[in-house]
Amino acid sequence: MLQNLHQALKESIKSNDFLQTTLHVKDKRIHLTYYKSLINHEQLHHDLLSYIQISNCEINHLHEIKTLIPLEGTMVSSNLQEIVQSLTHGSIFLQLDPHLNEGLIVNIADPQLGHRDHNDTENEYSVIGPKVGFVENIDTNMTLLRRGLVSEKLIYEEIIVGSLSKTRIVIAYLEGIANHQHVNTARQRLSDLDFDVVFETSLLEQLITDNSNSPFPLFLSSERLDRIMYALINGEIAIICDGSPSIITGPTSLFSFLISPEDYYLPWIMGSFFRLIRYFGIAFSILATSIYVATLTFHYTVIPRDLLGPIIESRTNVPFPPLLEVLFLEITVELLREAGSRLPTKVSQTLGIVGGIILGQAAVAAGLTSNILLIIVSLSALASFTTPIFKISNTIRFLRFPLIVLASLWGGFGIMLGLMFILGHLLRLKSLGSPYIVPLFPFRSNSYSDSFIRSSFSYLSNRFFTTRPRSTKRYSVQKNKDIGDDYNNE
């Protein structure tokens, strides 16, 4: 490169926020090149220029400036490619003589610029427990995790992904606990990736997933600090992406989507109870409307005589077959949900009331649907929102529709067929190469203390084999000394 570096930079970057200025310090001139929009101006004046100006010694060489500036990450470079790269990351380029083909790169980027500094975990709310959530800034997220897990075992591995965005992706895991196979798989998939802009971890998830043709999320994504920490200590790995407030963990199983951090903060009886309610909610939400369609279309004899009366009564004025009736209501609920999630909170609350109550009542009064169906549909909509993770509740709401159609075609046989297909699909799914429905299959009997119910902490002292951790012991169980086994209080 024989061309003047200063000139070359000017020609290669045409953006208006790209500045090249000259500064007079004593009898010397310093040429600065930087993106106005990227650097921290306070740092530029306070930490960089002021030190150069107040110094007494003569500045003749770049290395002298380098020793003057109290900043890390400075280097002398003459490679145009490298300079452009670091300028786009928020560095400043200093030259003493624009005709010399070298200059000093000083990193004074402002990582906080344009980011919010806290997140109240509004999307994954829990009544008890910390409300600390991740933010868009990867360094803040890494700090939060590092402060939560005070151990040298916590390892961060950084990979740059994205030809345009140059997004920093960090794989976090606990050395000696996470299985190397999972780390290797994640590292390999990330480094093989070719994509232009990585916006979000959810997008990243689809790029590195084991099966992209599945309605089920194969990585758990969460914005809660406690949840990610819990995944890490159980031997999972976490993938953090710059610019995304949620972190994904894997290998995950279907059942971890039904776990709420609150299960662990409440006594185990309460925690287990709420968890079982969630399981029931999911089963109800998937099956209720399709069973309604199946029984009323084909198998009305399954309904006992006493129950048949009220059902017939509520359906006497409805002119449609059960399938249309159900689809009408289900789609109404989906519209309400979709509209509610696109509108500001206050508007959507009003909309929910107007849509939910008035529309529902009016539909019954107009004879479009039956009362009983209205109850079933709204209950199953409600039940689908009991899942702690947003993504799985989408899956559940989606799975309803093929089942309704199957039920209208072949009744209970159709529902069963759909369920069998889902089961077969679940059996085939893998997350980071591990089976998706552990501990059911492969059967891991030691994991049952924390799957359908959450047992007391004295049974949770070992990590489960579901993530194949390298060490299984979490803590040792000790009984408090003042609780005796002596029932006579002697």
Partner: protein, 363 residues
Amino acid sequence: MQNRVKENYAISGSFVFFLIGVPQAAAVIMNFQSLVIGDAGQDAWISIILAGLSLHLIIWMVYKMLGNPAKDVIDIHRSIFGKFLGNAVSLLLVGYYFLMALFYFRAYIEIVQVWVFPTFRTWALAGILIGMIYYVVSGGFRIVTGFSFFYMALIPMLALLYLPFRQGNFHYLLPVLNHSFIELLEGSRSSCFIFFGLEALLIYFPFLKLPEKSVKWAHFSILFTTIKYLLLMMITLMYFSQGLLKHTLWPTLAMSKIIELSFIARFEYIYIFMWLMIIIPTVCIPIWCCTRIMKRVAALKPRLSLPLVLAALFIVALSFKERTQIDALDKFINELGFYFIFAYIPLLFIIASVAFKLKSNVK
């Protein structure tokens, strides 16, 4: 061993409990009673115990013959009959497993058509089920195993038969043991079809991890099936009179008709639909065995052989139209399976152990 199964394709040895158990809970659970009482009458339940006990011996033979090092029946055939003849015999097994799959498959289609949807076309029903079977079998043996595991979820449903049991008349079981031993054995023979399905063990044996340690699970499975059918048989004998039972085609379903809870009645529908969960792995296991034999013997890739086998299953299943034809198929399968389990396996066991002795003597 050239056919050593890779570690990540193998399954835990205890899953043999489900792999053996699932075909034994298939469609025959709905109609075995009327076929069994022919010879032993009200003592049919003793016949079932006898049949169950004798099968423990068969399981022992299979594990003895195939274990240490784990190999399948194809290897046994090769080492006894030589490469060419042994492969030919193994190919005959494809036919056997195919017929087994057909037996389970057609029986379930018939139940659905008779009890739920009389107008449901056989080709449509068969087509849907075959699509499902293709999806499961193409996932590999682990998926088939996983599927068969979930049948345990349905077994508690049989507890609802307590309600017909309450209606039962204990005196129908009396007098006990008024049949001769020969008649009891005849009864055992005609009831052994409820235990079909353990023959597939001959093929998937190398897929089990530590088979010698898991032998107890195979025995548990037989024991579980024996107890299950024993109880079911006793309930049926108490519920029906023998004259009525002889003319009832699906006694289990007929009994379940009287079960009624406050929100649900006509339990036979629930049973029939839920049994899909058992039928699919039951058909998948023999189909998988067919593709496995073809792969080992003829080096035919499952990607090719699976559609072939399923297409054949579809066409053959359609050719059975009348109840009498299906009945004839059932009778034929009962005979075939009986001789396969109680003649072929012991014979192979004796020949194999003699051949093994001779070989070690020569050495």
